[in-house]
Every structure is written in structure tokens, then in C-alpha cells.
């Protein structure tokens, strides 16, 4: 059945390259999460706002990001913007696409979390003389992040996995891109991708466990 000799030694020699790629993957994931969270807070507030000017565009962003494939969103950034003369590099397109996606999903998470916070919290803060913004920042947001922490961790893991989609738009510096590069040159597809899979798995696990540790230190109440 197997008319093939597995060449693990050859593939493992490429490990340093793969690890460099893994660092780029993490960089993209972290950047997209940081920006995604920032946008998501704004989107969540906008969606709850009574003004149509705020809630309508926010809803469009959230619904499009959640009802179309992430790959489509990346294609839009890379190919679609070309119609307007905006040419994003594979790196920028991947980052933009994943950020767009993160923001949409997290906005929905944050919206649910905000709904779970009793309205009386804001009343109590306002009654102490705090302006709205200050009350939101000091009282509402910390509680919102606490409630949303687990979904946020999941989104981070998804962001890491989503970076692999970059190969379809020519990305070659992240883990999947480097792997594909090596694959195209050496044709050791199975071995090299298997090693990449292990690295992805370890990164995903490290993030999940790290997040749990972080939670136990941050949320001691």
C-alpha cells in the first residue's frame, strides 16, 4: 500500500524556518485580536445605540463578517479592493480580513456580555457623579471582559488557525506560507505539513492554557 518512504529527517531540518513562520503567525493573530477587540467594543456600543446612524453600519459589519466565509473576507481585502486601486499586500490583506472577522464575532459576544450586566450598575456609577464614558470604562467594560473572556480566548485560537488562509493570497512568511513554500520545493507534502500541524496544535494549546492561567489571576472575584 505505501509505495513511499517517509523522509522525516529531511523535513525536521526545516524546523527553524517553520518556527520563524510560527512567530509571524502569532504576530498576525495578536495584532488582529488587539485591533479586533478595539473595533468590537465600538461596534457593540454602536449596535446598542438608539441612533440609526450608528447602529445600522455596525450591524452590517457584524452580519457580513458572521455570514460569509473568512476566506471571502480575505479575498475582498486582497482582490476586491483592487477595483478601487487599493492593492494590499498578502500580509495586509490577511491582517485586514482576520481583523474584520474578529471584530464582527467579538462584537456579538460583547453585546451579549453587556446585556448580562444589570442596568443598575451604570445607574449606581452615574449616581456617584461619574460621566457616562468614565462609568463605562471603569465599571461596565471590566465586567464585560470578564463575562466574555472564554469566547475571547476561543476567538484568539481561531485567529491563529485563520492565518493559514494566507497561502491562498500568496502569503509566504507565516507558518502555513513557509510550509507551502517548502512543500513546493521538496514535494515532501505529508511530512512537512504534519510537522506544521503539530506546531499549530501546540500553539493552540499553549494559548488556551495560558488564557486559563491569566483568568485565574485576573478574575479573583
Amino acid at each position: 500500500m505505501f509505495d513511499y518512504t517517509f523522509q522525516w529527517r529531511q523535513a525536521l531540518q526545516k524546523l527553524p524556518l517553520l518556527l520563524d513562520g510560527a512567530l509571524v503567525t502569532l504576530q498576525i493573530a495578536l495584532l488582529s485580536m488587539a485591533m479586533g477587540i478595539a473595533f468590537a467594543v465600538l461596534l457593540a456600543v454602536a449596535r446598542n445605540s438608539r441612533s440609526r446612524w450608528a447602529s445600522a453600519p455596525a450591524s452590517v459589519w457584524v452580519e457580513v463578517s458572521r455570514n460569509t466565509p473568512a476566506l471571502f473576507q480575505i479575498y475582498m481585502a486582497h482582490f476586491g479592493l483592487g477595483s478601487y486601486g487599493i492593492y494590499l499586500s498578502p500580509y495586509m490583506a490577511l491582517l485586514a480580513g482576520i481583523t474584520f472577522n474578529n471584530a464582527g464575532y467579538l462584537a456579538e459576544t460583547f453585546r451579549g456580555a453587556l446585556r448580562a450586566i444589570p442596568g443598575t450598575q451604570l445607574r449606581a456609577a452615574r449616581s456617584l457623579g461619574m460621566p457616562s464614558m468614565q462609568a463605562f470604562r471603569l465599571i461596565i467594560m471590566p465586567q464585560m471582559f470578564r463575562i466574555a473572556f472564554l469566547p475571547m480566548t476561543n476567538q484568539m485560537v481561531w485567529a491563529i488557525l485563520m492565518t493559514s488562509l494566507g497561502v491562498t493570497v500568496g502569503m509566504n512568511t507565516d507558518l502555513a506560507g513557509v510550509t507551502q513554500d517548502i512543500n513546493v520545493r521538496s514535494f515532501r507534502t505529508f511530512e512537512i505539513f504534519a510537522i506544521a500541524a503539530v506546531i499549530y496544535y501546540l500553539i493552540a494549546k499553549a494559548v488556551t492554557i495560558g488564557a486559563q492561567l491569566l483568568a485565574s489571576r485576573l478574575f479573583r472575584y
Binding site: 500500500m1 505505501f2 509505495d3 513511499y4 452580519e63 457580513v64 458572521r66 455570514n67 460569509t68 466565509p69 473568512a70 476566506l71 471571502f72 479575498y75 475582498m76 482582490f79 476586491g80 479592493l81 483592487g82 477595483s83 478601487y84 485560537v157 488557525l161 485563520m162 492565518t163 493559514s164 488562509l165 497561502v167 491562498t168 502555513a176 510550509t179 507534502t189 505529508f190 505539513f193 504534519a194 506544521a196 500541524a197 499549530y200 496544535y201 493552540a204 494549546k205
Partner: protein, 217 residues
Amino acid sequence: MFDTALTLSDLMFLLKGAGMTLAVTFFAVTGGTLLGLLFGVLRAQISVWAALPLIFVLDVFRSVPLLIQLVLANAFQAIAGLNMPPFATSCIVLALYTSAYCTEIVRGAIDAVPTVTRRAGRSLGLTWGQDMRFIVFPMALRVALPSWIGLTLGVMKDSALVLWLGLIELLRSGQILVTRLQEPMFILMVVGAIYFLMSFPIARLGGQLEKRWREDD
């Protein structure tokens, strides 16, 4: 209104791609749900320690990018001389991927059925099988359905990745048109609209079901 070179037959081409998307999704979700039911019931029954190997394997499916899984599966079947068509490979990989998430949904839904209710049934003389069929299943279904709908829609969106194995699904069809017609934004928006139409109504339905069933309680 729109000054475009997109013809009706081009639109048909896109819809054919959508058909491929739906076909892959159908097989993946069917297979994945059946496996998910099996594994989920298993997980709910046996202890965590005994289920550890299964937990590990399913966790791997959720922690490795789908694209990598597709490439690995395709490479493996080539090495093993199986000569499987990319459609089959894709469906199998997606089904296993779906089952990993479905297992958790099923297990969670079964656990959500109050033990006291199940004990009441068993005390009346129902067998384990009857307990499952008449007590657990109806109650667990309510809990699982909204999540399951979410999973199905997720798989439909993830199915875009099978383009990497050469399948002409919706997104790839769009890309082919873009290469030919050079109107990326417009064509991609049509593609996006088709995805949106396939997803949004069902997502809304799921949300309403969830709300209605929650109010019933």
C-alpha cells in the same frame, strides 16, 4: 443600473459553484452529525479518563487549521495509493472536523438534561435505550438545535477551503470570473450576497427558535 460584463450564464456558473458548496456541506454535516451523535453519547456515558484518547483526537481536529487538515488528508491518500477524488477527501475531512464540534454539542445537550428527570424514567422501569429515546433526546434536541444550526452554517462557510484541493465551489467560481472579467469588487459582492443569502435566513431562524423555546420554558 450596473455597467457590468457579468452575464446570466456567468451567474449560473456562480450558482453551480454554490451548489458544490452546498453538496460538500451536506455530506460533511450529515457524516459529522452522525459521528457527533455517536461520540457525544459515548462521551456523556463513559468517564473522562476512559474517553481521553477520543477527547484528544477530536481536540486535534479543532486545533489544527482546516486547510492543513485538507492538505494532509490529500497527501496521505495519495501516498496510500487510494486515488480518492478531491470531493471525497474533502467531504471526509470536513465530516471529521464537524464531528469534533458536534460531539461537544451533543455531550453538552445530554448533560443539560436534569439527572433527576432521567432517574425518574429509569425508576419507572425504562431501559437505558428508552430513557435515551423518550426522555433525553427530545429535551437534548432543544438545547442542541441552535448550536447545531450555528455549526452547520460554520461548516458551510469553512467549505470554501476545499478550493485548495481544486474543487470549484462558490468562492473559486467567483475568483475564476474575476480573472476573466476583471471586476473584482462587483463579482465578489455577488458572491458575498449568495453566501449571505445561504446563511443569514437560517441563522435568523435558529435565533428565533432559540428564543421561542426559551420562552416556552
